[in-house]
């Protein structure tokens, strides 16, 4: 079972807190950025700006942000540039970046995002249930 955590994305300064998911000590967005080819660095900056803009409560064009189904019980976001895709979910007090991928592998990346989201939310739920059981005792 992977160990989940989250940390603030320091490059983003918005009204709403924006964090990246950390799996087994590895930040999703940090790792994604480090693995990006230099050609995509410019687009990556655009994506960060889109996330910040949305986290300030502003609207974005559909070509930049896709807000879709809550199959995992939470609103899911896909931030888009020409070649990059970054997925995030809405939590009660923050946006959490869960996965980063590419347009040319969008379907597979989206499946990974959904799986990670499901696993993360189930883990959080298990922890919450555990706390409730302890409190009852």
């Amino acid at each position: 079972m992977p160990k989940f955590d989250s940390a603030k994305i320091t490059a983003i300064n918005a009204r709403e807190l924006v964090e990246e998911l950390i799996i087994d000590g590895e930040g999703i967005l940090t790792t994604y950025e480090n693995k990006l080819s230099k050609n995509y660095l410019s687009e990556f900056k655009n994506i960060l700006k889109y996330i910040e803009y949305a986290a300030n409560g502003n609207s974005l064009p559909k070509t930049k942000l896709r807000k879709y189904g809550n199959s995992n019980g939470t609103t899911e976001y896909e931030f888009k540039s020409d070649h990059l895709r970054v997925w995030a979910i809405q939590l009660p007090s923050k946006k959490l970046v869960v996965y980063g991928g590419y347009k040319n592998s969008q379907d597979a990346d989206e499946r990974i995002f959904k799986a990670k989201t499901k696993q993360y939310l189930e883990t959080v739920k298990e922890i919450d249930n555990g706390k409730k059981r302890i409190n009852k005792k």
Partner: protein, 153 residues
């Protein structure tokens, strides 16, 4: 990526302008219940041109930006700020989000380190609201802001 690298980038500011333009036009379009075709007709431009703007991809001449703004009964105000100053404001706004924590820390310091020494020995008679109000004033002093930074970051 560091925050400073992002706000010094061309992408950050270009995107800001593009998204603000998108929002200005999209608000107008919705308020007036216009579709893209009607909007294009009103402006005397092609539908493709409107789509480009509403996709957040506007990167035309400054004269076009002015024309568009005026067509929507707006004036485009462009101002310039020193990058250093912008970074300072930006980091200050990050600190500001930790306002509650900062004040809590200040109160802790106040209660534990003899803040009342500035008052007479009957300082218990000083209303809490007055002490808080003075602390809030002090927060605006540069040395206190430094302290806030320490707590907030």
């Amino acid at each position: 990526m560091e925050r400073s690298e992002l706000i010094k980038s061309r992408e950050y500011w270009l995107t800001e302008i593009q998204l603000n333009l998108f929002n200005m036009i999209e608000d107008y379009r919705k308020k007036n219940s216009l579709n893209k075709r009607q909007l294009a007709d009103k402006l005397g431009v092609t539908k493709g041109y409107i789509s480009q703007i509403l996709n957040g991809d506007f990167d035309h001449k400054i004269s076009k930006l002015v024309d568009l703004s005026l067509a929507f009964d707006k004036v485009p105000l462009i101002s310039y700020r020193n990058l250093d100053e912008m970074e300072a404001i930006d980091s200050y706004s990050q600190i500001d989000k930790n306002w509650t924590i900062t004040i809590t820390e200040s109160i802790k310091l106040d209660l534990s380190s003899g803040y009342n020494n500035d008052y007479d020995k009957n300082s218990d008679s000083i209303p809490q609201s007055k002490r808080l109000s003075e602390m809030m004033d002090n927060i605006n002093q540069p040395n206190i802001i430094e302290n806030r930074k320490e707590y907030a970051l």
